[in-house]
Symmetry: none
Subunit: 151 residues, 2 copies
């Protein structure tokens, strides 16, 4: 598997840790064996966005220009970095979810991982289910075509 796929459900323990689903963990593993990612509150949905470190770095690369006087750059930097949390998995493949992000996503003791290809999202299970259902409904009525796809 080279992309985050499927839906997984794991448990938050008393210390705020969750096991990253094993298939996802394999994708996150760096050459040195470390499993690093960046967690952010989604700005559009009540969930946590999870970025593999390389993907996040690619995303933020355009903001690294030494440009002191661009307001737009400043804004983007704040939006991107100020509420991002770096995370590294322990030896068992668990990460600690920061309190703020748990609140944002309304997490209880069960969490759902939604694979999204290059990234994945962490949801409260009920909210995840509703979200997926509504997305499916929207797609059914809109009938979008995949770029480069078949018919």
């Amino acid at each position: 598997m080279s992309q985050f796929m499927g839906t997984h459900q794991n448990q938050l323990d008393g210390k705020g840790r969750v096991s990253i689903p094993a298939p996802f963990r394999a994708l996150l593993k760096a050459a040195d064996g470390s499993v690093r990612l960046v967690l952010r509150p989604s700005h559009k949905r009540p969930c946590i966005e999870a970025w593999p470190l390389p993907a996040f770095e690619a995303l933020s690369a355009p903001l690294q220009r030494l440009d002191l006087f661009s307001e737009e750059q400043d804004d983007l930097a704040v939006a991107l970095f100020a509420d991002a949390f770096p995370a590294e998995a322990d030896k068992e493949g668990r990460v600690v979810l920061p309190e703020r992000l748990k609140l944002h996503a309304g997490l209880g003791s069960l969490v759902t991982f939604l694979g999204l290809g290059r990234t994945f999202e962490i949801w409260e299970p009920g909210a995840a289910e509703r979200h997926v259902a509504s997305v499916r409904a929207r797609i059914a009525e809109r009938r979008p075509t995949l770029p480069g796809g078949g018919a």
Copy 2:
């Protein structure tokens, strides 16, 4: 972590010292173990800009060319250097914030560190929160997605 990320909150003690958040401190640490940075009042916002020494040097390098003598260069040099404070952390990773900068940022006994990737900013907590909120609002209306965003 290779970039300043996240929001941290620490306390100013009676002597005007603050602990630099540990993740930031790790990024600031030079080869010789020293933790040096440059503090400046932001010209656009009521906060303190904090630059790692190497980043500040890179920023100012273009101004150091001796063959450039324009008024604009002079102005930039003044703006950059005139109110910049060099700072070095003590053994516990704390720095003393100059009185002038504390006033500029309106700091009380609690301070908020905003990670911005290459640099970070030091804010009065309430002001920081309002600032981040307004930035988010501005971005939401200006640009629905971050560059390259979404999976």
